[in-house]
């Protein structure tokens, strides 16, 4: 019988420093992965944690990791040529088929951008697949901006609104993402979807702001992060009521998500 908890070793191809606290690891991997799915990354002797796929390409996957705990600190010690242990992919994905031919609004806070980056890259490469794409991305300050190159190129094809909580900077307005949701021309869209990713409070406030702008809650999709020790429905950590984030999520329609009370 297959042991689904057994991680396999993969070679790190490249490490990109996004910020001082966030690195992107390109890992050799041939898996087929959908936008929004995650892996459990581990370093022997330190532990494991669920991390979303921030990009995918021919023969590789990328994971953008924030240095916040013992595991992620351990991962930061790794470089190109080193081995990392992974298992996955896990979870559901963004309903990309539903997004096709419609207007798409993506609202991302901080590291949350990692969870939607592969989807954004896909629509950047295939802009005809959506009617329009609006990206509102917010960071704490200019030192915490992720994927700078991507953000710049996205401006070419997306309606891009970038902001910083604490300051103004070239290409970035000052303020929270929630302040710019009212600037999205929802009224001009014939049919649209909204994707919200980021810290829990940011998701809640952004969803409320969307509802204030008249967005139908069934058109809102969120991706949730929870602690996981297995990602296969056994350990109990990600359970919210009768729902397991690792099984039914991490992507939820807001109609369901608004009723998930931890």
């Amino acid at each position: 019988m297959k042991n689904v908890l057994m991680p396999t070793p993969h070679r790190i191809l490249n490490v990109a420093h996004e910020t001082r606290a966030e690195y992107t690891f390109r890992v050799e991997c041939d898996d087929t992965v959908e936008h929004g799915q995650f892996y459990v990354l581990s370093i022997p002797k330190i532990g494991e944690a669920p991390i979303s796929v921030s990009s995918k390409g021919e023969g590789y996957l990328e994971f953008t990791i924030r240095k916040v705990g013992r595991l992620t600190e351990g991962i930061f010690g790794l470089g190109a040529g080193d081995t990392i242990f992974i298992r996955g992919p896990y979870g559901n994905c963004f309903p990309v088929q539903d997004f096709m031919g419609r207007d798409l609004v993506v609202i991302a806070g901080g590291t949350g951008l990692a969870a939607v980056r592969s989807m954004l890259q896909h629509f950047y490469a295939n802009p005809h697949e959506v009617n329009s794409l609006t990206l509102i991305a917010g960071f704490r300050n200019s030192d915490s901006v992720l994927f700078r190159e991507d953000l710049e190129t996205f401006r070419e094809k997306f309606r891009a609104i970038y902001c910083l909580d604490e300051m103004e900077a070239v290409g970035f307005k000052k303020g929270f993402v929630t302040e710019y949701i009212k600037d999205v021309p929802f009224a001009t869209f014939s049919d649209y979807n909204v994707v919200i990713v980021g810290p829990p409070e940011m998701i809640n406030f952004s969803a409320k702001e969307c509802l204030n702008s008249g967005v139908d809650e069934a058109r809102i999709w969120v991706s949730l992060e929870r602690k996981m020790s297995c990602a296969v429905g056994k350990c109990g950590h990600c359970k919210i009521g009768g729902v397991y984030v690792c099984q039914e999520g991490p992507v939820f329609n807001y109609v369901q998500a608004k009723n998930l009370i931890d």
Binding site: P44, G47, E225, S229, V232, G233, K234, K239, N259, D262
Partner: protein, 311 residues
Amino acid sequence: MEDMMSSLKDTYRLYAPKRFPDGSIRYGEIDSLSEIVVDEKSHFSPKEVYLPIVQTIFYFKDNQCEESEIEDGRDILIFARACDISAIERLDTIYLKNGGAQDFYYKRLRDKVKFVLIECPESFDSCFCVSMGASITDNFIGILRDGKIDTKSEPVFVSENKKSVTIPDIDESIVKDVIQLEYWRSFDENCAGCGGCTAVCPTCSCFDTIDVIYSETSLDGERRRVWGSCMQEDFSAMAGGHNVRKRVGDRMRFKVMHKIYDFHQRFGETHMCVGCGRCDERCPKDIVFSDIINTLAGKVEQLKAEGGAGR
């Protein structure tokens, strides 16, 4: 008699509730059926036999992961009461059904397990197995009677407990109100959040994983699965500071709802709780689980009456 034991032990590792030197009654390996404590309820459940408190799941060796092995190839024979035998079906639901994939480490021990029924001539004070539908089982190969294993007689089960519970009639239309009941706040003060209840519970299944290195200079180590408890504050804490259910009352609500509502809602079989009552006996704050269930049932009826047609 000794012949029987030695032939049994050729086939099985034998586990039964026995008295340990510290006075506690727990499941341990036995050499003689006379070691089995039958006139008292064991303080801990048999789950630790097939869901060990700590278990090595794999070893790190030379930058590879090497699966742990079970050293003893024999099957496992557990002497257990009907509630505890019923409990294994709840654990099967989590470990073998939920999420589609079977858990390798659970299954390899679970497949070895057979039971001998310890009958309950009458139930203990804190039992409410009848209300939970866990007082009867057919999952055993014999019955412990008069110090022997009887494979021919019909089992006797309790048909009544001193305690009974009314399962709250919760559905999706009301669950949010139940979660937000002021009642849960009483546990912010009254519950210590120690997790003792989840340790003795035969159906609590949550775990953490920890990695262990043998020495600072060694590259070798192992990953272990250890019991986790949703009653403890760090259960769902994530690196970076995000946590949920910081108040102990919310953790109590989370546990209670799992035991008597959302496990059943998700899997549509039984409720998770088997009514063994061990959590009450373990609780340093004298919280009584059956009282919570009954209180909640009353509160739910009240909510429904207040909500009326507007719901």
